[in-house]
């Protein structure tokens, strides 16, 4: 359970102060896939990054499983971050490390009792043959799979996704969404996805918060579409979109 209790966040820049989040209260239940959607500048990434303390609230309290994140000592904060996986829009892989070394990186930082093996996690994301490749040899979609594998190898309780598909084309986006869906089903962690792409939320999440100008406008239940596995090749989709009125 992740709870935001009257969160305000302001950034100070050269004596000007900018309100990124104003008075947000929200709870995300354990084991659900929760979407945060909004236009750029709505504050959704900031909200996400409060969960693992990449940002600190100006006012208010963020609690994860009843523990206030901002009250934790450095050591305890690290213990909490250890349980939270994160994937990024720009993938953030180490370019000088192989796929395997990237995926194993979290295991080098902490001891994990129940981590997956490299083979298991690479098979899960469909990259078992890319173990010794370097990120520069991979496509965008493959890089994000490595990012997901790196997050999953620790068996996290919470998976944070910051615009996970925004650097990818539409078909790759659907592939990544499928991988995330599969991960949610298999490992049943809480997933929080920030994105401006509605179909990603529609496909992946049970509930979603709609943000606008630093405020949560609505929290809604997402109706899953029946239309599934409908991945069309790029050229077909291009014709469909461009030649119809």
């Amino acid at each position: 359970m992740i709870e935001f209790d009257h969160i305000t966040k302001t950034f100070k820049e050269n004596s000007r102060s900018l309100t990124a989040l104003s008075d947000i209260s929200l709870s995300i239940h354990e084991g659900e896939a929760f979407g945060i959607i909004g236009e750029s500048g709505a504050g959704k990434s900031t909200l996400l990054r409060l969960i693992n303390a990449l940002e600190k609230p100006t006012n208010g309290l963020v609690t994860v499983d009843g523990v206030a994140v901002s009250d934790l000592s450095k050591t305890d904060l690290r213990k909490m971050q250890k349980r939270i996986g994160m994937i990024f829009q720009q993938f953030n892989l180490l370019n000088n490390k192989t796929v395997e070394e990237n995926v194993r990186l979290p295991l080098e930082l902490h001891d994990f009792a129940a981590s997956l093996t490299t083979e298991e996690v690479l098979r899960f994301v469909g990259l078992e043959d890319k173990k010794d490749s370097y990120p520069s040899q991979l496509s965008g979609g493959q890089k994000q799979r490595v990012g997901i594998a790196r997050a999953l190898i620790t068996r996290p309780d919470i998976l944070l996704c910051d615009e996970p598909t925004s650097a990818l084309d539409q078909n790759t986006t659907e592939e990544i969404v499928e991988v995330l869906k599969k991960a949610h089903k298999e490992f049943q962690m809480t997933i929080v996805v920030v994105t401006h792409e509605l179909p990603v939320i529609k496909e992946l999440c049970q509930r979603a918060a709609i943000m606008e100008l630093g405020e949560v406008r609505d929290v809604i239940d997402v109706k899953q579409s029946d239309e599934r596995g409908n991945i069309k090749p790029y050229h077909e989709r291009a014709i469909e979109v461009l030649s119809h009125e």
Partner: protein
């Protein structure tokens, strides 16, 4: 013509032992400078980076102090630094002139300051996302530095080191003024003071070859380390 060449070769052979001795002195000074750059320049540069504003480990005061120190050392005309350090060297080492180890002290100081800047610049090139990723994984500062920053910056660190070492070669040629010797001093003594121009050019060519070797080795290593 062939007679002149023969004469030149004879002279080079005559001066060869002294030239080799000078190269050895240059080697000593470069060795201490390189050692200092690695052992001290890297940590100081890393500290400059970590304490700069916007970092999770930001520390204004410490950053300002190190910054000022590095700037002061680097803006010193090197010859004045050498002279200014004389009393200090005499205190710690016993003598300040007439030996390449005494001459290494100013080399060490400039090496740390110079390479620290290069290290800071290399680390600045790392995308912010990498630092954020380390943070999100709950990495300690130590882990951030060793498992993320140095991994991503390694080829740039090597290129910076190569450039720094080539500057060290240049700095070392000044050390003749305090009797530090070295190949640069050799060139000045024979070319400028004794008008033995051919020997001076030979020494200069040796210095150029030395620089070329460092550059070649540095680029080769950097390329091998770079998987980006």
């Amino acid at each position: 013509m062939s007679e002149e060449i023969g004469l030149y070769i004879e002279r080079v052979i005559e001066y060869l032992p002294r030239m080799m001795e000078s190269l050895g002195e240059t080697g000593i000074m470069l060795f201490f400078a390189m050692l200092a750059a690695i052992l001290m320049g890297i940590p100081v540069g890393t500290l400059l980076y970590l304490t700069s504003s916007g970092q999770p480990t930001e520390h204004r005061l410490l950053n300002r102090i190190i910054n000022a120190l590095v700037n002061i050392i680097r803006s010193f005309p090197f010859l004045l630094l050498v002279v200014a350090m004389q009393p200090f060297i005499r205190q710690v080492y016993g003598r300040a002139t007439g030996d390449p180890i005494a001459a290494s002290f100013p080399m060490i100081v400039i090496a740390i300051a110079l390479y620290a800047r290069f290290v800071e610049q290399s680390l600045n090139e790392i995308p912010k996302g990498i630092i954020e990723t380390a943070q999100s994984m709950g990495a300690t500062t130590w882990q951030l530095v060793w498992k993320f920053l140095y991994v991503e910056a390694r080829s740039s660190l090597v290129i910076g080191f190569t450039t720094a070492v080539i500057s060290f070669v240049s700095y070392s040629t000044i050390m003749g003024v305090v009797g530090g010797g070295g190949i640069g001093d050799f060139a000045i003594r024979y070319g400028y003071q004794r008008y033995e121009t051919d020997i001076m050019y030979t020494a200069i060519v040796l210095i150029i070859i030395l620089v070329e070797i460092f550059q070649w080795l540095g680029l080769k290593l950097a390329k091998r380390l770079d998987k980006r």
